[in-house]
């Protein structure tokens, strides 16, 4: 087997490889279920079909996909520019802390200004957390990968310290949780009877804006050049440092906003020691699965959100351990990376093709 470089990027494989990756993941998943001694078809149905065969199920899918898409859209800008922010979970947490902090500060008050203020605080919190790796990378050349990740651990511990300590609800019998935010600090529900909240709509708007910026503006072009060939970016006069700042601040801000949407929405209007099932990390998979393209990320977010819903559902319906979700997500990314080779290369078998002879 040999790889032969294509003359042009294969558009067919560019979008075909994620689909292929999803199919391969399903096949491998079925095999995994068999090995574990479960009925593969019942398990796959419990995982991928029954969670979304109702309106409520679909709305839950959107609720789960929303933070993934919001974060992944920000991360994709950086990944394209060769900036590896993998600490979105930390920025999400800081956004929740900052936004939630505002809600707690004005606890007991009502007013239409509270929610926007919380959003600004959340974006600021996420940006501040992402500014640390940005600063260290630009000024000292320190790897943003390791710094952003270490800060994710720190952020989770900080949230825990607050929820167990100074921010603990004095009326909650020593449970590690804060007070419940006042009504004005909760995200409005846009589809009655579901948990579909305003944040989902904001996510869609952000995706469309990001798509426009990435494909139609000089900024998007600069991002691509900086990522693909740093020396060429210098030649063109595009500043790499600026890209590091912009992409880290953008992804940090969006992750922070996603964190606030969680605590002011599905989590139920309070801070808890755990507010996210690892959305910040899973969004990395979503970004790649969506080809670092905002519209693709929207689709990919739905697919990956299904693995969360499916994991919960399969645990109830067929008793699968919930850890299967993580395995599915990992496998999905692996298969994607493996099939991605087809975008730039052709796989050939046997002797080299003789052309022009």
């Amino acid at each position: 087997m040999r790889l032969e470089k294509r003359a042009q990027v294969s558009q067919a494989m560019l979008w075909g490889s994620p689909i292929l990756a999803v199919l391969l993941t399903l096949v491998a998943g079925a095999l995994l279920f068999v090995v574990m001694g479960y009925d593969p078809f019942a398990s796959l149905r419990a995982f991928f079909v029954s969670p979304i065969n109702s309106t409520y199920g679909l709305s839950e899918l959107a609720v789960k996909a929303s933070p993934l898409v919001l974060i992944a859209t920000g991360l994709a800008v950086g990944f394209r520019a060769g900036v590896w922010n993998i600490g979105a979970e930390g920025q999400l947490t800081l956004g929740a802390i900052a936004g939630g902090g505002v809600a707690l500060l004005f606890w007991g008050m009502e007013g239409p200004w509270i929610l926007p203020l919380m959003c600004l605080a959340a974006i600021g919190g996420g940006m501040a957390w992402a500014a640390i790796p940005a600063f260290l990378r630009v000024r000292l050349g320190v790897s943003e990968i390791l710094v952003s990740l270490m800060l994710a651990y720190v952020a989770l511990l900080l949230l825990s310290a607050l929820v167990y300590g100074p921010w603990k609800n004095p009326e909650a019998f020593n449970f590690p949780e804060t007070r419940v935010f006042s009504d004005s600090a909760l995200l409005p529900i846009i589809l009655p009877g579901t948990r579909l909240h305003l944040g989902v709509a904001v996510t869609v708007v952000v995706v469309l804006l990001a798509w426009f910026f990435m494909t139609r503006t000089l900024f998007g072009y600069q991002v691509r050049v900086v990522g693909a060939a740093p020396a060429a970016a210098r030649y063109a006069g595009f500043s790499r440092d600026r890209m590091v700042w912009i992409s880290l601040l953008a992804s940090g801000g969006l992750a922070g906003l996603a964190g606030l949407f969680e605590v002011a929405g599905p989590v139920g209007g309070q801070l808890l020691p755990t507010i996210s099932p690892g959305y910040g990390f899973t969004a990395i998979i979503v970004a790649f699965l969506g080809r670092l393209n905002p519209l693709g990320i929207l689709l990919a977010g739905l697919v990956v959100a299904l693995s969360y819903l499916g994991g919960e559902n399969a645990q109830i319906e067929v008793g699968l351990p919930q850890a299967v979700t993580g395995v599915f997500q990992g496998m999905l990314l692996f298969f994607l990376l493996a099939t991605d080779v087809l975008v730039r290369y052709r796989v050939r078998f046997g002797a080299p093709r003789l052309a022009g002879a």
Partner: protein, 515 residues
């Protein structure tokens, strides 16, 4: 007659889309210095890689001292007694001379013994080297010595040298020839690859000429004229573009004064008090051995490395602090040495690559919004005007051959109608046809009144192209010479570091003197 040391019989090698070698046959006798002559892209490198076992032929036979062999790997070649000095040295910057030599040898020789043998060989063949030094601290000439010593330690009976002189000063070339003649005298065969005709006449006993992957002739270089060999090599009369008579001394467009700079690269060369002016309608050349501050100077001229505002002026306006984009808006365009990843983004299409440097001068992104159609049309214009062979504007830059991508890059800069064009090694590694296209375009630009600066290690190119010439050595520039009056020897001495301006010659600029 003696058994030939090496005999090739009908060697053929195909790559997807091209036949690199087609039925190549020739013989090399013991002790013979045999030239392999051909322009870039004629298939010389592919051929010797097969002899050295890096590649395998699709058809044909290799006979080594009369016996048929299949050279499966470089290891195997070395065991046979074949050594090779690559054009792009296969050296490891962070490792010592000794370690670099060890990596090219078969078997594990104890370090101490190896050091001893390196000293021995370098003494016997006039190739002074310190085994403990690290490669990054060595000059290009010294680096080549490592490659040669590495080969000689194996007592080779065939030494392959791939364009060994392209990076040497004329004096270093003379010294290398002495070593090679000594080796041949001891019975070692040498396969000498070059397209420099006067070198072949001076050194080689026989020559095989390749064109388009086929052998088109064999000759005795001593009996041929340079012109007859050139015709054999190129096939048609690719007349070098005639340089029109031009008046000197016109208005300076680009001026550099009092430029000193510490290199960012720990292995780089600092610039010391560089003074330079490029005048309207002239081609100014910068000659010099690689690694003498060219990279630093280019970065400063292009704006990739901003400096004090007043050290660089364009039409009298201080531009030293400006970045590349601002300078380009004022009319300073730049063709960098490296096509892949510097002048062009390999993984982007040609349309996207047209955008890279033409955004402002061609108005391709007004108010930050891309005009995709206009970028595509500009790419089409470049492809058409410069005869770029490409599969449309959607083709990836990486899918083009070196010559075609270089034509695209040059065209992209030239069609922007610059005030000043800085071109680094504009024809490095491109075929003769593309080189002529590029040379003609540069000369035409100068005729139109553009100030053109060409930096090259190829002295022949500079002699053919330029009106005036300066030499860079150790981060300093010599005084300008009028090309028509300069001699090769004079230029060679300047390249070797014998400076006329400051008296602080040698490699003093290297890391030692700060800005």
């Amino acid at each position: 007659m003696d058994t030939p040391r090496l005999e090739l019989d009908g060697i053929t090698k195909r790559f997807p889309g091209v036949v690199a070698n087609d039925g190549v046959s020739f013989k090399v006798a013991p002790g013979e210095i045999h030239a392999l002559l051909g322009e870039n892209g004629a298939g010389k490198s592919t051929l010797v890689k097969m002899i050295y076992g890096v590649l395998q032929p699709d058809a044909g036979r290799i006979r080594w001292e009369g016996k048929g062999v299949r050279v499966l790997s470089p290891h195997f070649a070395r065991r046979l007694g074949i050594g090779m000095v690559f054009q792009h040295f296969s050296l490891f910057e962070a490792l010592s001379v000794e370690e670099n030599v060890a990596l090219g040898l078969e078997g594990d020789i104890p370090r101490r013994e190896l050091g001893e043998r390196i000293r021995e060989v370098s003494r016997d063949y006039g190739l002074p080297l310190d085994p403990k030094r690290h490669v990054h601290s060595l000059s290009v000439g010294e680096r080549q010595r490592i490659e040669i010593v590495r080969c000689l330690l194996q007592n080779p009976r065939l030494l392959i040298m791939d364009e060994p002189t392209s990076v040497l000063t004329p004096q270093e070339v003379e010294r290398l020839f002495l070593t090679l003649r000594q080796l041949a005298g001891e019975g070692c065969s040498i396969l000498y690859i070059s397209h420099k005709l006067h070198e072949l006449k001076a050194l080689c006993h026989a020559a095989t000429v390749l064109r388009g992957g086929r052998v088109v002739g064999t000759c005795d270089p001593a009996r041929e004229t340079a012109a007859s060999m050139a015709n054999l090599m190129v096939g048609t009369d690719l007349a070098a573009p005639a340089r029109p008579e031009r008046r000197l001394a016109r208005k300076p467009v680009l001026e550099v004064e009092g430029l000193s700079l510490r290199s960012d690269d720990p292995f780089g060369t600092h610039l010391a008090d560089v003074r330079l002016e490029v005048r309207q309608g002239e081609v100014l050349g910068i000659a010099g051995v690689a690694g003498n501050g060219q990279a630093e100077l280019l970065a400063v001229l292009a704006g990739e490395r901003p400096v004090d505002a007043n050290t660089i002026r364009l039409d009298g306006k201080p531009i030293g602090r400006m970045g590349t984009r601002e300078r380009r808006r004022l009319g300073l365009c730049y063709i960098p040495e490296e096509r892949n990843g510097h002048a062009a983004v390999p993984d982007l299409s040609l349309a996207d690559n047209a955008l890279l440097s033409a955004i402002d001068r061609k108005g391709l992104a007004p108010r930050g919004l891309l005009k995709g159609g206009a970028a595509k049309r500009y790419a089409e214009e470049v492809i058409r005007d410069f005869g770029v062979k490409a599969n449309g504007t959607a083709a990836l830059a990486s899918s083009l051959s070196g010559g075609n991508l270089q034509k695209f890059v040059c065209g992209r800069e030239i069609l922007q109608a610059p005030r000043v064009l800085v071109a680094a090694q504009p024809t490095w590694g491109v075929d003769a046809g593309a080189a002529v296209t590029i040379h003609k375009a540069l000369l035409r630009l100068a005729e139109e009144g553009v100030a053109v600066l060409v930096l090259s290690q190829d002295l022949d190119e500079l002699l053919a192209l330029t009106d005036r010439l300066v030499v860079i050595n150790g981060g300093r520039l010599s005084r300008p010479l009028v090309t028509a009056e300069a001699t090769t020897e004079e230029i060679g001495l300047l390249m070797g570091g014998l400076h006329d301006t400051t008296g602080a010659g040698g490699t003093a600029g290297r890391a030692a003197d700060a800005a």
